[in-house]
């Protein structure tokens, strides 16, 4: 009886978290933006499957800690897309997407709006490198 209850709770929790997470991503417009840039809307069925499999796989890996004994080089291949996706999410958040137009119009520097973005990019990359390199938290 107890296990049955646990199973129900687990299933419901997972369903809600999964749906909620990706409603969030879609609302941000990140996935849409990626599809737009790659001009591959015809493949959106495949993308749904990709997202589903990716989420499932990563959940299993994280929960059950299984893995392979592969070369460290694969990490480079995995790390880069990780960063790209997080970078896109970080840009789609309101804090960035509304702040830049607001700043550039209020301070009167619309000509330099893209300079602001480059400043943000450099800041975030540097901040991330600092975080991983110099500030190791146990």
């Amino acid at each position: 009886m107890k296990t049955f209850l646990l199973v129900i709770v687990g299933l419901s929790g997972g369903a809600l978290v999964g749906a909620g997470m990706f409603a969030f991503f879609i609302a941000l417009g990140v996935i849409e933006r990626v599809i737009d840039i790659s001009r591959t809307e015809a493949y959106r069925g495949m993308y749904k499957i990709a997202i589903l499999l990716g989420s499932l796989l990563s959940t299993l890996i994280y929960m059950f800690r299984f893995g392979v004994r592969a070369n460290k080089g694969w990490l480079l291949l995995i790390g880069l897309p990780m960063g790209i996706f997080v970078g896109m999410i970080a840009s789609a958040l309101t804090e960035v997407l509304n702040v830049i137009p607001f700043l550039s119009i209020r301070i009167g520097i619309t000509k330099w709006a893209y300079l602001l973005i480059i400043a943000i990019i450099l800041g975030k990359v540097l901040g991330s490198i600092l975080y991983w390199g110099l500030l190791k938290i146990q």
Partner: protein, 205 residues
Amino acid sequence: MDNYIYLHLKDHIKREAGQDIYLDDITELSCSPDVRDKLTKLVILQEKGVGIITLSVVEVIELIRQFIPEIPIISTGESKITIHIHEKDEYSGKGFAGLIRAFITSLLLFIGSGIAIMYFHEDVNMHKVHDAIYTAVTGQEATGSYWISIPYSIGLGLGIALFFGLLPDKNKNNKPDPLEIGIHKYKNQINSYLSAKGGSKQKKP
């Protein structure tokens, strides 16, 4: 050609100070040629200082009526127009002052974004996740090595550049990127607020 005047009032226009505003600036007109000759030189606003002025289509029609009393006028556009008169180059960021402002703002964003991303990583405990991935892929305990962190950080920058359309791409097909859309949305919000509030009234010439 039927004898009407079709008046398509624009939503908003922006002009530098020091110019008169003509009917042609604020509307698109469709009318017979002799009527058009009379109307193109019609001055809506004398040259004044800077400011934001809202005109309703009715005020424009009354102005036209002083010169063309009989022909029916049909309004096909907006019901109000917001005319924004600003100093020359006030918003473009030209000149040395603009450069200084841009530099200071960039510095603010550079440092701020760096700190923000550090807070974010700490907040979501990304370190633990990266260690888990490291162990999953290589089978060894994570020792703070940089094989994930460095490509991740580079990817972070690439992701933002990708999102804002900064990467060169010959097939961009000229679609606006989210920043342009954001600026456009913000300006629209300003304009619709101003036209709802109603700017200063125009004095009758």
